[in-house]
Symmetry: D2
């Protein structure tokens, strides 16, 4: 399915693996401040924070998967099948469709605190974008430089959870997911002592045995646990290259290699792209499954006061760099 | 520690992750046919197969980590601490030091079958390369297009094992390592049926749960198991770009992220480089921890009849590819 | 901590392991119909269903751990530390203290359905039995021949959950516990097929490998999972001896052997007793840690219309049965 | 399959679970000193140490499963399918059939040291006892008060391994089995510290979580690991009742409950009996699957100078001990 993370060195970074079995021609798309976001149930957003992120653009509308705004607030939608539930319109609430939630939050909020306030008055509406693009079953992670939250709309209402780990994957709902970490409390990135049986001669026959018990499969809970372990024990230099590289290594620890995860007979989901957004600088870095080169798009190299979308096609073709 | 694999689509590929806590200025080095390999206990190799591989060159001598020869035979040395044992010279045997084994085998053998024959008459000598470069505790994987073997010199002698899985890591010795795969026999890349308790309503709440139980830590047995699972369930297109990319994805499933594996307090081993050699074409592809771009060196672009080494410095600096 | 289960052949059985690091002189105690149960916040129970169960009798008051009434309704209290929360008295509710809950429910209800109705109007009161016997942090399982429920009073109120598996241990709260079973959906008591890697020769080198992944430690979630697996795959003859014996074998699969579970330095919890109540016949069977002989007390051999408790001291001394 | 263990308090104890899907009318059988053991390939044992143990007696010949002799040497045969290999007669060796090995060793050796000496000159002969009783595929554990060994006759010869843990189950061969313990080195019976991720609030939500990772299934490696953990962390009083009881609890931790282990469709192996022999006193204690009462037979209550077997039928019928 997918994995989203936050990471910080000097700057703050937010991004995700998109794990799916199909692709909708997604592009890195910049929405400038004066592009008019049409809204189904609330007034259109005529002027708003500029946004950069990955989107499928349908008839000039950017269906964002993950994005960051010029104030440094990041947001990503991840698959949440069987659990996501959207509602009939609720009087007295801002009824926002699932595909509008990223534009609405990133367009109007500078921080997680502001997003929380906005969410307190929101109900996720079940309306489709179109017949061709029915709603996806999603939950969302929102992050600024101070922390992150998880937003889950389930049959019993809209939940906003603080996310102390800065990692989100898919099912089960976040409270159960977060609780699962306790089962791994004794694992370590540092050598452990032999405690199994006093008087027996047991030993670490390999480096890394202190992590034995860490799950290695691709299910959402296993990716969550492994990714939290990797992120929290990770060290790197503070410069941009080291930070972005390490961010993508952390996502790499939960990458879905083709064809380890069968969806329907013969169809496999895999990590279509990995993104890393510098929240301070408004730069969107990405790699694709077929091309490990890190490409980048800088929102500040475009006119953020414009009113038209700018899209950058993904560079998916691998080119070897020959040294001779 | 390290992981080596074979992989085949149209062509055959062999390579490895080098996981260490230090680096010896290694370079991609081509040894042409007429470079004289001085040998300590057997006659020098004046003329031999040309070799391309990763090596630390010390005083014009290439200490190879992994390499392939022009006939398509590949070989890599991986860490085998506590188990590797080298011997005093044995009369009637070809006494080959550990650092000479790759040159000797790749210089004189075209196939695994030939390597087996040569190994039948070899004893690994304990002599150091120099005071500054004492012997490493190694075992080796050798592969051609038809299969691979594992070579382990332990206190009870030299063992040559067929390697039906084409994956090798480190400890324990290969027979125990290979046996460990049986414990995972029921895991699958394809959805499994509920069998835990008839009459209970259990289900796969996430894709990928059929792999639950696969180990996710960085110890050598866990990397072995995870890598075999990834390799054997992996599918990709047959062209060179897809093949090399998928090869590196398989190695990526067992990459050691900085700093998940502490060696001594404050020192961590990590995947310094990943290599992928096309055994038919004699091309050496690699990435480094800090630079995901795939670099390549083609042995056939050099004069293979020469008598001097050619070395290519690793391209370790990350460069972002800006799309705007 | 503890494990409670239901089990059915011809008759229905309910019982538990009591896992603790201390013992309060508990006895098998029969409360006849006309014993007056004094109640703290609601009218005393002057006349009620007769009850047989394990209890510490303090000043003629039976503090029940687990019991069954003459109608076949069984109930047990198990440790629920950190999660159990009892309340100040709530107006309009029947405020029942935690130590009164078993007498109240078993005294007044014939079935789980009736217990559910009673619980809908109950708030668990925080009042202690006495200074010497402060409240324990408990949750409860209630079972009749048709099913079972779990009762958890936590900070956000009283929860009554259907328990489709008929097993309960301790932390975490029941919804998370029950969800955890999904992670084991592919395990089986029957041989499984090799699916790890087509073309590799892997096999079951031992009977029972289809259960690999089942947790073997003594934590509450692991006992829950293991006990559900054992119970659901268990077969036995339908007579009383086979049924009671198999019931105790299922509990035996999660027995806490001395001294595998340290509570405070040098103090260990272990399975002090295991009980099995025939819900139809009103017979209380038990074994103690030190005495595997199955002892039994039959409520119908006492005068159920009496007004005084009858207690049977536990037979804790092991006697070998010499055959010569 | 089966599990054998040693255990010591004041006295020394040896015994086993017999896990099978069928039963051969086994009895506790005493072989006195002057019973003539007919031997197929070596001279008959006319006079020997007296033996008590579990045996199927066929035509006055005791086919022992496990036994102890009057000198305190114990021995048990356990299933070793696919690996056990018996040989054609070897000149210059004592060719002993698999069914004669227990009588031969226990009849002629007082200690493990003497057994080792005897085994140095033994080859296990492939001859059947009879058409009706073909050879079983076995390996053996031998124990005295000072230690224990494992005896495995495989295709490459007879191996005698020191057994530092005093536990044996079935496949794989003992060196691989023993090595597997290293993978559990960090588990403990005592609470562990949180080390997963500094700055995260993880905790032991249940007692016993320090054992998380211990395998709970019934395969032979899992039983081995679990049993070693239970034995080595076990504490008990030193008197006979506590010792025998604790011994049976340790075996109980790996008991095979009916019907968790399917052998052929509809046929299940389970723990038919558990034995515990006091090696100093020559007492054979046992329980059967259906009867938890501990029965005992004392060899010293019979005439050990006799020449006829004495057998005691197993007491398999459960009797409840009613307290009222």
């Amino acid at each position: 399915m997918c994995t989203a993370i936050t990471f910080a060195t000097e700057d703050h970074y937010f991004g995700r693996n998109l794990d799916l079995d199909f692709s909708y021609n997604e592009t890195v798309t910049i929405t400038p401040r004066n592009y008019v976001f049409p809204m189904r149930k609330v007034p259109d957003l005529n002027s708003h924070y500029a946004i950069i992120g990955m989107a499928t653009v349908v008839g000039d509308y950017p269906l964002y998967y993950d994005a960051v705004n010029e104030a440094g607030l990041g947001m990503a939608g991840l698959n949440f099948p069987d659990n996501a539930h959207y509602f009939e319109d609720v009087a007295g609430k801002n009824n926002i469709t699932s595909f509008e939630l990223i534009p609405y939050i990133l367009g109007t909020c500078k921080t997680v605190a502001e997003a929380k306030k906005a969410l307190a008055n929101i109900s996720i509406s079940a309306e489709n974008f179109s017949k061709e693009f029915p709603t996806s079953t999603l939950h969302w992670m929102i992050a600024d430089k101070d922390g992150s939250i998880v937003v889950e709309s389930t049959a019993d209402g809209l939940h906003v959870y603080d996310n102390p780990v800065g990692v989100m994957t898919n099912n089960p709902p976040f409270p159960i997911m977060k609780f699962a970490l306790n089962d791994y409390y004794a694992l370590s990135a540092h050598p452990l002592e032999h405690k199994f049986a006093k008087d027996l001669d047991l030993h670490e026959y390999s480096r890394g045995m202190s992590g034995l018990g860490l799950p290695g499969d691709l299910s959402s809970k296993s990716r969550f646990v492994r990714c939290v372990f990797t992120k929290y024990n990770s060290l790197c230099d503070k410069d941009e290259a080291s930070s972005v590289n390490q961010f993508l290594k952390i996502l790499g620890s939960v990458e879905q290699v083709k064809s380890l995860c069968e969806v329907t007979p013969g169809e496999y989901e895999y990590t279509i792209y990995s993104s890393c957004m510098n929240q301070e600088k408004g730069i969107y870095y990405y790699t694709t499954y077929g091309n490990p080169d890190i490409h980048a798009v800088d929102m500040h190299k475009t006119d953020l006061d414009a009113d038209k979308l700018t899209s950058y096609k993904l560079q998916k073709d691998l080119e070897f760099h020959f040294d001779n």
